[in-house]
């Protein structure tokens, strides 16, 4: 999948029938926020990162996918079914985690296991017990006595032991200490090895996403501002430093954007890198000092800045 700032180009290539989930032209308006024309395709067996700042629309997108929020327009299909009319059937195959989702404080982990188990014929007791041990959880402990990390692990246990085809995880590692975060990510990595599972993983922490995701979608202010394979993102975004005289004009290279100028030193970011870019710059009269890849976090920040600039124009 090639990277582009026009999400429709990269996303439309996958047919709906091949999708684990598909959002087409989904919009939703609130008083102070608008989710605008979201297009998203999740290919089965992939791990998809949804990165955005707080309030970007990640949670709303995921809730729409779960059928918890109805979009004003657009179509949503999950596991080949329209998520609104086949809500219950669709949710048989989804494991959903959200940070603003709580268990019953006065009840134990075992009580919750029993409750969730009764909804899923394919519930795996053996795996549930294994995860209890692996996460260091005590079945008879009441939820009100759990730490944040233990609560997250319990929720993940409740999701994973049902073996869902699609996991929708809304900032699962948010607020976790490094050890708990690694335990959670390690478990997710295990699941990633199962090719039949699809994961949509939202976060504003790009490191987590970079660690486990195959494809990445950037979202900001209710709009998708970029979507691509992780490696394509990393390959195609570059920071290029050049030395050029004051009157120098950059050649027409698509996606090249001036970030800063220090005397004769100019720093560009490029989101469509090609092997001949340096040569083009050299032949235009500039001296290329360096051309280096960006981290996912730097790409995200640059993409957000570009997206905001474009939306203001």
């Amino acid at each position: 999948m090639s990277h582009t700032l026009d999400p429709s180009l990269s996303q439309a290539s996958t047919s709906v029938s091949m999708s684990a989930a598909s959002l087409r032209g989904v919009s939703k308006s609130y008083k102070h926020f608008q989710l605008n024309n979201i297009n998203l395709e999740l290919v089965p067996g992939t791990v998809n990162g949804l990165i955005g700042p707080n309030g970007a629309g990640k949670s709303t997108t995921m809730r729409i996918m779960m059928g918890l929020v109805k979009p004003d327009s657009g179509t949503v299909s999950v596991i080949g079914q329209p998520s609104s009319s086949r809500q219950a059937r669709v949710k048989q195959h989804i494991g959903f985690f959200s940070d603003d989702m709580r268990m019953y404080k006065s009840e134990t982990i075992a009580w919750h296991l029993q409750l969730v188990r009764s909804f899923f014929p394919g519930w795996d007791d053996e795996y549930a017990n294994l995860l209890l041990k692996r996460f260091g959880l005590i079945a008879n402990q009441k939820v009100k006595g759990l730490s944040h990390g233990q609560r997250v692990k319990t929720m993940l246990l409740l999701i994973l032991a049902r073996h869902p085809q699609l996991l929708i995880l809304d900032e699962p590692t948010d607020g976790l200490d490094p050890v708990a975060k690694q335990e959670v990510l390690a478990e997710l990595m295990q699941i990633v090895n199962d090719d039949s599972r699809t994961i949509l993983y939202s976060s504003h922490n790009t490191q987590d996403v970079q660690q486990i995701c195959d494809t990445i979608t950037f979202i900001d202010r209710g709009r998708v501002i970029g979507a691509s394979d992780r490696d394509d993102f990393l390959d195609q975004w570059r920071r290029i430093k050049i030395h050029a005289p004051a009157q120098w004009q950059p050649p027409a290279i698509e996606g090249l954007k001036l970030e800063s100028t220090f005397g004769q030193l100019r720093v560009f970011t490029l989101d469509r890198y090609a092997a001949d870019v340096e040569a083009q710059l050299q032949s235009s009269g500039a001296t290329v000092e360096s051309s280096e890849g960006l981290t996912l976090e730097e790409i995200f920040i640059a993409a957000v800045a570009r997206g905001r600039e474009e939306s203001q124009q």
Partner: protein, 224 residues
Amino acid sequence: MNLQAIQTLFLKDLFLSRWPMFGYLLGGLLSVAILCLPGPTMGFIGFVLIVTVTIAAGIHLIGVLMLSEPIDMTRTFILSLPVSLLDYSIAKISVVLVTFLIPWFGMLALLTILTFVVPEANVGVLVPLVLMFLFLLVGFCFQLVVAVVTESVGWTIVTVVLGNISFTLFSKSMGEHPVISEIAKGDVLTWPPIALQALVIMAAVIVVTISFAFFWQSRSRDLV
């Protein structure tokens, strides 16, 4: 509609509200027992306690089972399970009704039995008592609808206050009604047309309010 899911959700909520429900049942039965003790003071105290227990049960159970879910964020957890909005709505409204009806019916049943068993009691008093109990049930149904529609503790309390005022006026009007007050003093249970009309109207109001609660809840667009 998934009956298995509805049953599971219903039993889950019944379990979660077991202690308040039994507490109100016990408090209600004690109030009825006090009402039946000899002397007008005990009768008055018992009556006030019955009304208090019924109103408190309504507010508490709606709060525990309905209003607390979005606040405690347990609703997202439940709705992440394979249940439809319709399943959730049926289970939720049914369980709130049942948990209220258990102490409500327990009190009314004991009151009816004691009216027939206690030699000093006038059987005719059942007419105003049944009407008053039904009025309290109507008030509860209004609270339920307001809770479903607004999801607001504040508006639900406003409804409770209005229901309380209405109940006081209703009780007063029954006490002053010549036919009903006459029957209440008698030892024969007869239902005058005015009482039957009131029963029918209140039953209709209950059906309409509960149907509206189901309708509203099941057509909600955003649940979290």
